[in-house]
Amino acid sequence: MTSFNFRAQQERTRRHTAMLVLFFVAMVAAISLALGLLLAIVVGYDEGADLLAIDPSLIIGGAVFAAVMIFGVALVRLISFGGDGARVAQALGAEEVTVDTQNPYKQRYLNVVDEMAIAAGLPRPRAFVIKHEKGINAFAAGSSPERAAVGVTHGALAKLNRQELAGVVAHEMAHIANYDTRLNMRLMGMVFGLVVLYTLGRGILRSFIFIPRRRDNRSVPVALAIGLGLIALGLLGVLGGRILQSAISRKREYLADATGVQFTRNPSGLANALKKIGGGTAGSHMDNSHTEEARHMFFASATGSLAGMFATHPPLIERIRALEPHFDPATDPIWNEDDKTMLRESRREVAGPWG
């Protein structure tokens, strides 16, 4: 066992996330306030008042209205999702694995999920497999440990050995134990609320382009200003929300790696699984069309096209180095293993030399 200090890492990450979540809330508040200000200016102008003598109660009223709308939309979306992990898993096209399975890979997977639930001291989540995905990936969903689900891709089952699979499942159990799945759903709801602002603004503009004009010229500039303001602020909010959500997600990935190691007490299992993603030709890529909106949920980057501010996951090499400081991709045997070797080694373990 290496000297990987999971507790210190967890402490640091928790502090960082709290700050980022605060940023997120502050951003939503600032956008609400800006909308209130816009409303007050436009209405004040409409009534022919001096620009500098705007009514403060209008600003606050508008801001509260905007905030209630953003949070309300987020809430409605959360309630409609229901927080049931199994439903999210099914929406991703995953298939549940039950105890009566005869497939040795799936039996092993169920056992590993059981073991990790014991290590985490949580109830066993429902276990799913995403069929036909060759990449190595996994997800966790559900708003609480009681309603949680975990899933792995077919590629993860076929290419990882027992300890690596345990590392991946432990990482997902850690997301559940740390309530990352709930945090992520809430952030997704807020971003959606901001999207609705933008949509609303576009709707207002459209109604002036497509609906035959009534001869009420006075309200046109007012509506135009509000529509444009909603579009601009909505876009700004969505952009900022995405960036913050991704930043939070990256922090939570490190935290889940650390907490997962706390469960297995075996950093190399997780590290080797990450190396196999880096080395294999399929990596962690997923073909599934649902993955774009759910990319925050996965074990490793599912789309792989985004980097920098919008990346949902930290770079693989940095995640491995957090576990094994001396890791070098050029010389590491597992990083450089090809898919065939992975499949063969894993099959040997499951089915034996003659299997």
Binding site: R108, N111, E115, I118, A120, G121, A166, E349
Partner: protein
């Protein structure tokens, strides 16, 4: 005015005691729960072994002694487990159980080492399934014990540090609970490595 200040201070003190008391209760319940989990997993291990012995008997005709020793060690461990079910405070009984489980782990290790020389057995699908089940059971026991030790440490830390220790003493919370160590610690922790491919 003084009365109000005294009342407020008293209310704050009572509030602190309530919070600390509740924390101790929560931590102690976690220990009890984790201990029960070990018991569940040990029972699973003990239930699995007779079936394993039954399935290998046909192949390993020359290893009757070892098989008998496995059954004996299993029965011994099961007996101790039943005796101490729920006796968390009894560190002597826990040490005894640890020894019995350690002995069982050792003899099982020997059985699997012997199975190396029976290629028919190793190719048997049933046997492979048992091996997976046993590996998983060993892991479960290890993780349940790890979870118990973590919760025992949290409870002990709380019950021994200021100011919770005053609350613990005043309300008669049990002294520090024992950590669990099994003799076959190393083997259990590396159970997946002793798979017999």
């Amino acid at each position: 005015m003084e009365l109000v200040i005294i009342l407020v201070v008293l209310a704050i003190l009572v509030g602190i005691v309530v919070v600390l008391y509740n924390r101790l209760v929560r931590l102690r319940n976690a220990v009890v729960n984790a201990f029960a989990q070990i018991d569940v997993q040990l029972k699973r291990r003990h239930d699995l072994i007779p079936r394993l012995v039954e399935s290998v008997k046909g192949y390993m005709k020359h290893e009757r002694e070892t098989l008998e020793a496995v059954v004996k060690a299993r029965n011994n461990a099961e007996q101790i487990r039943e005796q101490i079910a729920g006796a968390i405070g009894d560190s002597q009984a826990i040490a005894q159980l640890g020894q019995a489980e350690g002995a069982l782990g050792n003899i099982l290790g020997r059985l699997f080492a012997l199975s190396e020389s029976y290629p028919d057995l190793k190719a048997d699908q049933n046997f492979r399934q048992f091996q997976e089940e046993l590996t998983s059971t060993e892991n479960r026991v290890a993780y349940a014990r790890q979870s118990y030790n973590d919760s025992a440490m949290n409870y002990n830390n709380a019950a021994q540090s200021i100011p919770t220790n005053f609350v613990a003493a005043a309300f008669g919370f049990e002294p520090p609970v024992a950590m669990l160590e099994f003799e076959d610690r190393e083997e259990i922790q590396h159970a997946p490595d002793v798979s017999f491919t």
